[in-house]
Symmetry: C2
């Protein structure tokens, strides 16, 4: 049997929602996700490092309810709260727009690179729902080609679920990986992360000669 | 097999959502429904006919996205939009509070009377999602005891689905109904509605002698 939401096959014993309830939940998501960020907004966000950046309008009430970081920012009347402008560093305008849109709709179309960017934003602003969503995407789309960069990202943000999944792919493809371009690039750009990775591998019983 | 959402039994061919997607949809509803009406609100609603009424805070952006009536009110800069206070007549403070809460969470605990009050609010402010929800509740809870009053409400608001369901219950229980208190009360309070009802019955082939 096929699930209408994710299109994957499932055994009957996995199915636990009737058609009516499924439609009811979908309608609720559409109803609740209809608020538009630009409608009567009381705050704007800027991607401060992106020259092409335009203002991304939003509502304090929505930001506060989705992120404990925004909650602290606004409830403690920090500068951002008083000015009504929040500058967000180290992010592109496209990522910021998608991040804010997610806070309103719980929807985003991910690809490998975009899921990394949004994972970092979700981690920074502690939006657990988006973090889980990106995490699932990254784990489901792991392959030997992206395993090292995904591992590095996960290691930096202490995402155990991704680390574990990436390690399995990496140890299964060690020979291919250490002779590839990505490994050479990582060795040059982020040697500390690679070193920690090899120490981790040794500690868990995978013995490998450092290149 | 039992549906985890509504607790009703369903045949396997009705099930079309896997466990993971069901949890995913539920989490989305919780994520999107977390905005609190009182957090950084920019408008308050009052039940003007209820002496016990206190202010019910809300956000223009949320009201506008859920109801075309509020959209017209705020986008045309009517008095309510400028003053930030909306007076709502013919409603209790409790109903108004539950109505606003529904706009934020898509959740409400209904009983027979409350579903009638909220149905009227949903109709007045054209909140189709809540109207459908109350309609389903009223149809599911129809019995000969409440069928006449439910029919009268539905007739006043042209709710075809409820009218059809109530008519079936009424015609099946005509003898009991016309000798009951509710019928006598309705005949006194709303004779026009009863008259239309009997004309409707005759037009549809149910012949009955007017009492």
């Amino acid at each position: 049997m096929r699930c209408k939401s994710c299109e994957s096959c499932f055994q009957d014993y996995y199915a636990d929602t009737c058609k009516q309830c499924h439609e009811h939940h979908k309608a609720k998501v559409a109803f609740l996700g209809a608020t538009h960020p630009a409608s009567f907004s009381d705050v704007v966000l800027f991607a401060s490092d992106d020259e092409a950046s335009g203002p991304v309008p939003a509502h304090k009430a929505v930001l506060v309810s989705r992120s404990p970081v925004f909650r602290a920012m606004f409830e403690n009347e920090m500068e951002e709260s008083l000015s009504g402008t929040i500058k967000i560093g180290e992010v592109s305008n496209r990522t910021l727009g998608a991040f804010v849109n997610y806070l309103y709709t719980a929807e985003v179309r991910l690809d490998q690179q975009f899921s990394c960017f949004l994972f970092v934003m979700a981690e920074k602003y502690q939006v657990q729902h988006l973090k889980d969503y990106c995490q699932k995407f990254l784990v489901a789309n792991l392959n030997w080609d992206n395993s090292l960069s995904t591992y590095t990202l996960a290691h930096r943000h202490n995402a155990k679920q991704i680390i574990d999944a990436a390690l399995i792919v990496i140890t299964d493809n060690m020979d291919k990986l250490t002779s590839g371009k990505e490994y050479a690039k990582l060795k040059e750009k982020d040697p500390l992360s690679l070193q920690t990775f090899f120490i981790f591998l040794c500690a868990h019983g995978f013995f490998y000669v450092l290149q």
